[in-house]
Symmetry: C2
Amino acid sequence: MVVGNSILLDFSGVVDDDSHSEKTWKEIISKLVEIGNMNMLHFASYKFTEVIGKEGAVDSKQQNGGITAFALLSESHISVHTWPEFGKVMVDIFTCGSTAKLEDMIEYLRTNIQHQEMIITRLERGEQT
Amino acid sequence: MVVGNSILLDFSGVVDDDSHSEKTWKEIISKLVEIGNMNMLHFASYKFTEVIGKEGAVDSKQQNGGITAFALLSESHISVHTWPEFGKVMVDIFTCGSTAKLEDMIEYLRTNIQHQEMIITRLERGEQT
């Protein structure tokens, strides 16, 4: 058995404003927790107002930065980071135990985030011998 | 360029009680943020009092469960999950931007968490063309 599973989802081509709002992600994470048969213990999010340009410097002309959201779960965590300036959204789901319905959660994200590409990385964590 | 970097650290053979306490991880995460040249926006942790046995059922004889800790950073996040019953600790560091001193952070964890084995997975997130 393994102790946990990490699912890392990298979305590209995410250009609508809603996919970079705190309100949207609070709703999506609540829905994911419900779909995944999980229990949320704590939620936090943050909206960035600065955008880092491609050269690594703050681009003061753009005030609509991305968001970070995090849910601490009985079954580990969900994190989200978005970059509207690059059209990128990255969602990490870390679960322990065998009750989480991970495939249903992935399918929910695939159909509810408008995107051009979704790359999934699946990792088993802490092989238990 | 890539938008972010994920460093996933899986520690095994972590048997001392301190490595499964909220107090320890609050201190370690604060130190990591300092070493990594990062800014913490929010911190949360949770102590589990139940232990899930190897068969997936709650083992009511064991009341000293693991902890979960999470730091939301200007530069993304750090998460920690521990399982004292398995001697496991898993730390995820997600960073964006190029200023984070990731190798120094890894070295700090390597030397400050008593363990038998540390497996590192490094992933580049969101290749930006």
